[in-house]
Amino acid sequence: MDFQVVVLAGGFSKSLVPLVSKDVPKALLPVANRPVLSYVLEHFEENNLKDFIVVVEGESAALLVGGWISNAYVDRLHVEVAAVPEDVGTAGALRAIDRHLTAKDILVVSGDLISDIPPGAVAAAHRRHDAAVTAMLCSTPISGPSESGSSGGKDKAKKPARHNIIGLDPTKQFLLHVAAGAEVEKDIRVQKSILRAVGQMEIRADLMDAHMYAFKRTVLQEVLNKKETFLSLRRDVLPYLVRSQLRSELSQNGAVAEENGNSKGVSDSTIMLSQLLTNASTQSFHELYALGPDGSALSPRKTHKCCVHIASKSNYCVRLNSIQAFSDINRDVIGDASHLSGYSFSPQNNIIHPTAELGSKTTVGPHCMLGEGSQMGDKCSVKKSVIGRHCRIGSNVKVVNSVIMDHVTIGDGCSIQGSVVCSNVQLQERVVLRDCQVGAGYVVSSGSEHKGESLAKKEKQ
């Protein structure tokens, strides 16, 4: 397909402390006992995209991620892992790997995206219109990862601060306006020039930028080089491209000429093809605008197209970018969106690894997962939770709506609700956790009760 896939895997995201630690970068956080990054990679692999550049922030994280990838996907995928300095932003990350980009179009995807939307649809929309950029949008999920959190409440429902405001043309193919909700202070400011050219703009607040973009490589490189202050794809590059689509500052023609020079025979046919494709559909407002008001402007105005692919409501698409999202995604992947997990479920609608041991009168409800080699004592109850590998769980333990990672020891009589317990944590007897996060290696002393806390060891630097 001549698409290169760049996966922005992040580093040690601060917003996910204490779930991430220096041993577990964000990309390796387990979702249903698989690193989150594997969902992206395998999803693309299913769609026959096998060339990846995984960009990781920070050397040590890159080593960890690289190590895992070479173990898991050796022979299957062609993955390059590139380390970039921390805090360079998504645009900075792409700038850093500039010279690795060679394909005609680049698919940029966030490494924390859990989705079943075929990337091919994005690529097709991108190619169909010969767009400079194509963004994937999805309806704000019903489960609302970032919204439905306990911090939600009523005032949040009142003003959708987190929402993106997205302007689309009537055919819902082109992106005309984009602003993140938080940036819109009082007014939505819509450029009249674009509105005039299109005539009608649908402004929606119920769409989420899914952080999957297809860029034309030349465009992406040009923008990154020209605009050195741009840090973020979502907040800088995309709005810039959308804003300037009718008075493009991109030297597309130059790029075409360059490509012509490189391979004349091939490019002729591609031009023919693209002409055929554009002629096939009625002219978009871009072409009409470029032609000028009489259809014969003295010098055609330069435009570029910003397209969208809007995923249907039935698609699952969530980013793992908060602790709340982490819990939600884990629950969804073994629950409502179980087709994503790649596991086969038992008739009881749960997954219990054959090597896991359950004590007597222990029940594991539907939408649960019990990892390899984990042991549970008697009279335990597990509901809507994921339990990792090699955990040792005592008797009379209740685990509800929680994620328990690997090698966790849980003493008798513990009760865990709505919490995340990282690897190698030890919960002594009769610990009660509600809506807590426990960082890796932490020891919770017996009998203690915690509610809504974040427990972690002090990082030894």
Binding site: K192, S193, M201, E202, R204, P239
Partner: protein, 732 residues
Amino acid sequence: MVAKKGGSKGMGAAEDAEEELARTPLQAIILADSFTTKFRPITLERPKVLLPLVNAPMIDYTLAWLESAGVEEVFVFCCAHSKQVIDYLDKSNWFGQPNFSVTTIESHNAISAGDALRLIYEQHVIRGDFILVSGDTVSNMSLSQALKEHKERRRKDSNAVMTMVIKQSKASPVTRQSRLGTEELFMVIDPETKQLLYYEDRGDNLKGYLSLDKALLTDNTSISLQNDKQDCYIDICSPEVLSLFTDNFDYQHLRRDFVKGLLVDDIMGYKIYTHEIHSSYAARIDNYRSYHTISKDIIQRWTYPLVPDVQFFGNSATKLERQGMYRAPDIKQSRSSKIGPFTVIGSGTSIGNNTEISNSVVGECCSIGSNVTIEGCYIWHNVTIEDGCKLKHSIVCDGVTMKSGAALEPGVVLSFKVVIGRNFLVPAYSKVSLHQQPIRQDSDEELEYADNSSGITESPSVSGTLDLLNEEERTELPDSQAYEVGDGGVGFIWLVSEAGQEEEWRHSVAPIPVDKLVAIMQISNDEADLPNEDGAFLPPSGELGPDSITNDSNEDAEDIRDDSVIFEREVEATFQRAVEEDVTDDHVILEVNSLRLSYNMASADCAGALFSSVMKLALDAPHDSPNELYKNVVSTVRKWKKLLKYYLPSIDEEIEVILKFEEMCLESAREYSPLFVQILHHLYDQDIIQEEAILDWASEKEGAEESDKVFVKQSEKFIQWLKEASEEEDED
């Protein structure tokens, strides 16, 4: 509420609304006055609704449409020239129709649609939902669907008071006006319910963006922002609309006040909906350009059955021939004359040899000589055009005579009975009338008029000024006392009003000249080339992080600063003008006071601003040495002493002046810094600043930083002297 009051037959509550509606005959209000001056000078003599549109008065189109759409009762509101309207309706038998009652409501003091509706409300004649149109509407739409939707909405939500009819029509990308010559319209409509959420028909073109309230998106996840619609000015209203106008006695304009008022007001929760028509025609004649466009539409039969060869009312029979030609049967036409496409010739008209007429409408009983060229003109009744005249894209009213060889450039309007002299060339866009141009617009029009003048800012064209300046010169040349239209001509050429200047070509019947289009295009391209046209307003979003909310307080502070800077500038400008035009002190004081009120400044600010203006004036006067500068200051201060003194009623203001002076010395006018003490002393001598003020200032400054005390130190001796002097006084 009105329904109950109006329904004298004891109508029930809202539950019975449906029944009530079924019983009430469908009513309509026609506003037979547009409350604008766009058709002047013609409308000085005849009301707009009686102007012929393809040889039939406009109001006939409106009435014929309403009748065919099933309206049973029409109230025609007449204001300007009401007698003419009533006479016409009487004469044309509209009053005696079965199942279609036409009633006139006369008023002589209504100055706006708002007044008209308030008056109609008082008459208690409207009993149910009604159609509100103006008497210049041409349409063939069926009202049933729109009415049904309106009533259904009403049943569910009694707050849905109005349904506006809209139609697809894209404004020209160049001139940003619709083909009807109206400004481009921005609307926000809820795609599901079709509720109107935002309406802006006079947007500020200088801004590259449109600001929508974020709150629009809190209630609806999806809104549709539309720029390709045209407002047909056909409204289906509930009786509440009338009472709303009465409640809000300041509502004047239907759109600007009423619609916007309802959209902004979220307390009462009244809602306006839209109904889009697709295949039928609806448009309103708002200006000369729409007159032209709608005439063409009628000739090209978009308005069927309201076309010249179908008799509806008031139009005489014509026969449709090929190429869109309509000819009355009894015309006298020379064999050698050529009548081009899309032309209407009224009955009783005679056309001479070798005359060419194309794309024009010629009224009844006109006599057109030989070798005349008429292109794109609207010639009304009883017009005499002698041999060899040339007419292009003009409107020629009843009874006009054009002597031989006269010519009209595009965009000319000849009002009733004007005579154009031999071989006289009427310049483009001029308006000729037997009436002199009113010097002052009478109060009726002022309201609209003020609005019009604000319209210039909307025009993106600056380049047009040059052409128009020439034009103005041309029109100004003749003495306005005598007739200005050539040998044997009768009529005054109206001066193009300042405001209208740039608008003329936009709204005239003539096509927009190519050079103008090119100029606008150039400008819009230039605008587009400005890299940061919107960039300034839409900063790279990264800069506006979520934390930007915390900046609010800073912004407020900046606002205040900005205000004071602007205020100072304004005062300075006022003062400058006073100097240049020799305005008396009293007037300056008056103006500064009004500025002070509008910017909400303290009197100390006025003093400071005035003082700095005075000092700047002195600085601007030529000088070579500090000594000369000082002399300048002395003379200027002497001249404006009274003014300065006026704003220095107390010590506080005086201190402010000293502080201001200090600031000037440090920043804007460093030349003064060596003269600080000298000038201060002078001000003291002149009693402008009292010694208490100086001493207070000095003591106030004592605690300040060293850098701030430069001038205090400079004036140490002076202060010392002042202190001693006062001590001496005490001793005395």
